[in-house]
Symmetry: D2
Subunit: 341 residues, 4 copies
């Protein structure tokens, strides 16, 4: 079988695993106060070009979203998000469990625009009953989005501008950030993200680590007692080194992006394979998620050899199927799929 | 320096690390649905002699406490715990953040008794204002306790009996369970714990793993949608394999207890070293935490060579100091300390 | 000025006020344990024809929604509601503050249908990712709706059937229930509501009382410790008599419906006044809320004499305006408006 | 029967009831935006001598405690309170339900001292593990306390000083504030309370109103969106006038204190009756709660004619019994009790 169902099917990339093994016997302080966490924080600050940033390590993405949004939002405040956003649909109501409403906007290929946000906020304040409603206080976007698409630098800047104008936090979910940074069409750098967002996270789990995400408060604007809050919310590992060591490896040189480049190259090859054979793509995604329109019987045949993911029915005869590459996908797998088309 | 400050200072024990490395390249399903998670669950059920048990893997202990207690307690219900319990003091209010009160009872060397619990519950229902108060609905104990002490089989059975009589859940925090099982004086087995408790967790982080705890609902009594709840609360790792592989290694043969035995043997040697030199112990703990009474100047001198933990002032001249051994502590370290006494 | 902006602009109706004054000096137990609360509960059970019902008094509607839904919904469970539902929009996120998601369905004149609910639930369970999503566990409807419309007996029965089939609670918000019961087109009785819903509330605040709503668990199915939960959530008045006395008055004879009939008659007269003069109604609501389409300049002129509520812009030249009558609206006010049209 | 069980057994005092009746027919805006709310706010500001204060009306005391503390406390923050405090025991865990821990200090006749608070906070920050614990961020006291005792001006000032020094909010629960202000031994005025506390509430329910408490943020320091938060938490009455009219009546002239004086005079007479007959008081409370030590058989005989409240057993033969007077207690009732002693 060729596995292209998701990007969290293998363990750690080589650099990460090696560093874990090498440092395993060292005796280190707990709870993120070890030297590898410190080094990783420094390297991330450097990569973001934000010496004043505060960096925290948390095991998984849903946990980051839960903790960051609960910490940032005040009573009666909610977060604007695309209706396809991970927090809107696939986190089992984690934001609501934290006491806050997700205020959804219709997405366009997974994205929302500065104009949409602006209109929402202005309509809200013009509504004479708005004091009976949930105040928009933050904007959640993901980069890449759930559809593998990317905000352009101009789009990101516009979102940032409208957030500042309206007094909202801009929060970017970077579960797959590395694939965005490695994409050929991307015109956004890590430093741009740090500059335009109030807080964001650099995904590890899906981009070469065993687990772990790095939360970055770009402007040194972490909430009061934030480490204690992470602990209270169950997000602080006793062996914080597990996350520090991994991010130390990923942010040594350009490992983080280099690791992800493999996914982009295999995804590009896969897209070419499909389009050359006459298949249509639902969306022309520049990252590691590909949405292909398949005839139902082709899909059934392909499923015998490839693990991919049913996305949705397009019509009676056609199905949208998602293929995901990762840092662990080999070009050979792509060649084997091409042979099956 | 000799490090005896805690039992989470090193990475993984050899068996765990090797298994992680060996399985690293395998392509596996996410979210705990891989074969290593399944194997580990089976082995844990077998070790507990509870074929009907439901087992879940969660990254850390505070997270387990938060999730289990939030899932078990209804509105207006609280959990009885010793005043020294981890949830009572050192989890930054995680139970309260989940909406529930911790109802503390005075501890005796870290433990509470069945009689104490019985009296509390009976007094509660006799109070004519009890409908204005928080209903006791669960009992939290830890094994070993925060003082390294152990409940005897008889004590545990009595607690279990009173919980059943009064309709309370009995929940056991086993962050250091392996050290309890490996202790020479222990007369409680894993199967006893599974039989007497409604839910408990088997610690991994402090007993040989990099991270991870195994939550066991002994009687197949996990709450509805519990995996979804773990996800919502941020406790479900995408690469669930990270936990499954580790527990698979720990529960192969008697690895779990064997790994912990090293801590018990070094702790026993350390106790002997202290007592032979005339030092008094605050508590005669049978596990890997030792509480020694030191003259202040002795403590100051010792601190130059040993990383241990200030516990509290006993009087003007004497200090209680905690020493913790782990699976990674060598007998050679103990010899070096003996030489310093 | 003629005031038709809402139905909570006056104090109490005569029967309620008189009863409050008459009983004011009596010395009674607190917290809802007085004889007037008991009498009111008995009268409500009788009116609902549900001797087994449990009845609780709570000061306001948002509070009832918050308390009932928080008590009924388990972790990871949400409530289906029309997108125009009061809990969906105008309660400042009270359901989310209680930890749960409102799962909105598109409304049709304020209502949702059994078929919509059925499809939503079936689609949910067919979604292979549903364990990552919020489980639908209850349905919220209001009677009358935010648009003054009413479910027919057949519609209500169908909703009830689908809820039982799918294992959802059916919860009816009856903030304006009296106006629904008094409406000429209504074919639903209080007893039907009690029969078809698991829990509902009988509004007092908007239908003749100073404050207070009566929550009815029709089948004796109130959650455990519910009175304690009301207290914990801040909804239990020390002088519970304030609510008991008022509902005792409202449910003496047919006071409750009789009081509301005045609103229906004045609303009907107002509708005739508008339609006879050639104005169009947005919705032909059978209760005390009327949605009229006015030319913008007509609206501007009318505002000088009538306090009504801007609803929304229909197009460049026309505005939808809401007029609300109440038990306190006089037919004379309607005559005065007619003269202005 | 003579009823001295509590101070919320009757309806409203005459001035309040009359004002409710007189204003009943007036058509007024909802949600606390009516002129009576405005007037009451102005009168309260004047009485407190704090023109900048923000005043909000909420129906009951537990609700005020829940809302104010949830609004003031950040994540990981708790409130220091006496172990006998209403929030510590008799509100069914309302503070914990809001996500925060009550940090109890041992009481002395219902009070805590500035020195106790200072020591607690200093010990907290000296504890090297304090980042794993709940941060003290507010102090809760009640005036009068649960034992009817009063803080002196000096004690209140000292508490205020230590709170400012340590960065804590000082919050005063004034459920029975009127009885404190009317007490002969009191040297604290409403203006002192406003000056020394960051936020407090003026009780209505137990001091002459049917329901309602006035929350005062003395320094114009109400949290953002506070009215919306009250709504979300279910505390905003549609007919806000119900509270405004009552406080308007209570704060016209010296009605509030005058109404409460009757309770003080009858309580004083009752104390004299007991002490003259040789009975001992547990505490010499200066307000409307009296704690008398009775022989068991005397208590049994007295219960036939007087409704009072069992407080606790003093020893085998003696019981502590609480008698509470109110604005509605007549001197004749006291005479009748005296005849029974």
């Amino acid at each position: 079988m060729i596995l292209l169902a998701n990007d969290y099917s293998e363990g750690a990339c080589e650099a990460v695993l090696r560093h874990l093994v090498e440092t395993n016997a060292e005796t280190l302080p707990g709870y993120g106060e070890d030297l590898y966490c410190d080094r990783a924080r420094d390297k991330i600050r450097w990569a973001c070009q934000t010496p004043e940033a505060e960096v925290f390590f948390i095991s998984g993405g849903t946990q980051v979203n839960a903790i960051v949004l609960k910490a940032l939002l005040g009573p009666c405040e909610g977060v604007i998000a695309p209706d396809t956003g991970h927090i809107s649909v696939h986190e089992a109501g984690t934001v609501e469990a934290g006491g806050h409403k997700v205020l959804t906007l219709p997405n366009c290929e997974g994205k929302i625009s500065a104009a949409d946000v602006k209109r929402y906020v202005e309509d809200f304040y013009e509504d004479r009953n708005h004091s009976q409603m949930v105040y928009p206080a933050a904007v959640y976007i993901s980069y890449p989005t759930e559809y593998g698409t990317l905000y352009s630098l101009k789009e990101l800047e516009a979102l940032s501008d409208v957030c500042r104008e309206k007094g909202l936090f801009l929060y970017l979910d970077g579960a797959r950030l590395g694939y965005g940074l490695a994409a050929k069409q991307a015109d956004v750098t890590l430093s741009d993200i740090a500059r335009f967002c109030d807080v964001f996270y650099i995904g590890g789990t899906k981009t070469g680590a065993l687990c772990g995400e790095a939360v970055v408060f770009s402007k040194g604007n972490a909430p009061k007692h934030f480490t204690t809050f992470i602990r209270q919310q169950g997000g602080l590992l006793a062996k914080g080194r597990l996350l520090g060591v991994q991010f130390d490896a990923l942010f040594t040189g350009d490992t983080y992006v280099a690791v992800c480049r493999q996914a982009i190259e295999t995804a590009d090859a896969l897209k070419r394979a499909f389009t050359e054979k006459g298949y249509a793509l639902l969306i022309d995604s520049p990252t590691n998620q590909i949405f292909v329109i398949l005839d139902n019987d082709k899909y059934e045949r392909l499923k015998k050899d490839v693990v991919c993911r049913y996305w949705r029915k397009l019509d009676e005869n056609r199905t949208v199927v998602r293929f995901v590459t990762s840092w662990a996908t080999s070009m050979e797998s792509i060649d084997r799929i091409r042979a099956l088309l």
